[in-house]
């Protein structure tokens, strides 16, 4: 399932993003190998990837913009349109499902006022089912932005949603160095 390109005008990439590109390319024997890291870099800056970005990456690594688009549309992690302020990904695959990830998803849809595969009307949350994220002994797991939340039981959905909503008002969210054993470390 791939999202369609956004029609809203995109802001320019930050100068520090642009400045990182040459060192990334220099790591590889062939520049084209830098395609994926450069796309990750762009997406971490802006939250999604535009056609202009793909043209920029293509120029840097020596391929056509179409060859970069092929990559963007193949890998589920890349997006061509913006998402909510928090990206909530619930693991759907069997180990987590056996521990209740479908019931968790139904409850989160209510608690976050957001249907799966969509962004909430206020733009706060994008809620998705994703396939196995390799933390199967602690299911159900929920990957939120760069944090991995383990053992999120269906009955705890309200509390979990409240915790996520609180991060929206936390200016230090995602800024502090992660501490071992926390969701931020495991993300």
């Amino acid at each position: 399932m791939h999202e369609s390109p956004s029609s809203a005008p995109a802001r320019a990439l930050k100068p520090e993003t642009l400045a990182q590109a040459p060192a990334i390319i220099a790591q590889y024997p062939q520049p084209r190998s830098a395609t994926m890291p450069l796309l990750h870099l762009v997406q971490e800056d802006r939250g999604y990837i535009t056609q202009e970005d793909m043209t920029w990456v293509a120029g840097l690594v020596g391929v056509t913009p179409m060859q970069v688009l092929e990559v963007v549309t193949f890998y589920p992690m890349y997006r061509q349109s913006p998402i909510g302020r928090r990206h909530v990904r619930v693991c759907r695959t069997l180990s987590c499902a056996l521990r209740g990830s479908y019931a968790l998803m139904e409850n989160l849809e209510q608690s976050l006022n957001c249907k799966r595969g969509e962004t909430s009307p206020d733009g706060d949350f994008t809620l998705e089912f994703v396939e196995c994220i390799a933390d199967c002994g602690c299911g159900p797991v929920v990957h939120v932005d760069a944090s991995m939340h383990e053992n999120v039981k269906p009955e705890d959905a309200d509390q979990f949603a409240a915790q996520l909503k609180a991060t929206l008002k936390d200016p230090s969210y995602g800024q502090n160095p992660p501490v071992p054993g926390t969701p931020e470390w495991n993300g």
Binding site: Q27, Y28, P29, Q30, R32, S33, A34, T35, M36, P37, L39, H40, V61, V63, Q67, E70, V71, F74, Y75, P76, M77, Y78, R92, T93, L94, S95, A97, L98, R99, G100, Y102, A103, V130, E131, C132, I133, A134, D135, C136, G137, C138, G139, H143, A146, P178, P180, E184, W185, N186, G187
Partner: protein
Amino acid sequence: MPAVERPLIYANLRKPGYTVDIDCYLRNGGYEALKKAVALKPEEVCKEVEVSGLRGRGGAGFPTGMKWKFLDRKSGKPAYLVVNADESEPGTYKDRQIIYKDPHQMLEGIAITAWAIQAKQAFIYIRGEFIHGAKILERAIAEAKAKGFLGQNILGSGYSCEIVVHRGGGCYVCGEETGLIESLEGKRGYPRIKPPYFPAVLGLYNCPTIVNNAETMAQVKHVLAFGGAEFAKIGIPGDSGTHIWGVSGLVKRPGLYEIEAGKATFGELLYDLCGGPLDGRKIKAIIPGGSSTKILKVGERFKGKLANGTEFDWALEDIPLDSNSIAACGTGLGTGGTIVIDDSVEMIQALSNLNAFYAHETCGQCTPCREGSLWLSRVSKRITTGGGLETDVPLLLDIANQVAGRTICAHGEAVAWPVQSAVPKFKDEYLESIRKRQKGEEVPKLKLI
């Protein structure tokens, strides 16, 4: 005697207060095996690994020493080492622990392996979702370079090796070694056809390449630490070292258990170490080594002859935890990611859950896999939503039979095996699921699709 663990790979990371920094690793004997390795000739290191009997930990269980022997050393092209840390097989979460809790152990194994195969450039292809894991590895690499264990002139040997951490983009098929290589080249992760694209000959940038699993790298460190012959004494002949069993699903204590190969049984793993089923439940089936391995049903008898001539007649609980015994029961040790299913689970929903996974993850290159995985997913799902026909059960098998063996990569088998193994064992239950819905009767509460 109840089963006991023998932590080798997880020995350090389980110590209270153990941290990921290099000082902690060095206090715990870190990089001593690398010192031993660079004092040996590369071919002597290869020999140690061959003698150790180590088999790859990525799922296929191919002997690591033999894989290294296939490396084309005559082409004059540079050799590359690619470490597969794209841990994506459902039920598998063993490599995550190494990356997030003991990254230097893996890096030491990579440095040893790179020396053995004389690769000057190594890549760690890590799951895109392991965002902080990639950062942990990058920090660890910088620490190791600063101390002379990686980078230029490793330990004064004159030999140099750089490691680049490369994040994937959330694609299961990039765990397949040739798909991974395509991805690392900046393309879609379409697996390559073999022959001619055997990585050891035509791998990354069409150069000779060794692709090894992340845990295999950690195991290599221990091979050198023990010496190949001593390492071979851990476990049983034909399967040396430890296996990390990542148990998930419906047991009291899901988790990671590191057990010497062949020194415990599934019964001991599930009942002693994992505490057995949840209260009031019974274990009904297990998927032993990641979702692509064939399902085993409680109550089945497994009879046959091992390669060494020993006849066996086992219940599921009796099967020894080594790759040969498990293979003799018609399935595989795979990654050791055991998914436990109990009597609260409706089997058609469990199958449908996995079918949906494979349909999502097929790369679409080969028609049988692209179409077959989607049809398996649709047919099994329609049973769960009440639109199933009794003919759907043989139909599932028929579709799966047309996928396996007809694709470029093993994703075709991964699509087919869950269906091919489950349909004969749970056919009656599937038919019951269809009939219940036709009659509007109550179905199990746990929703899996």
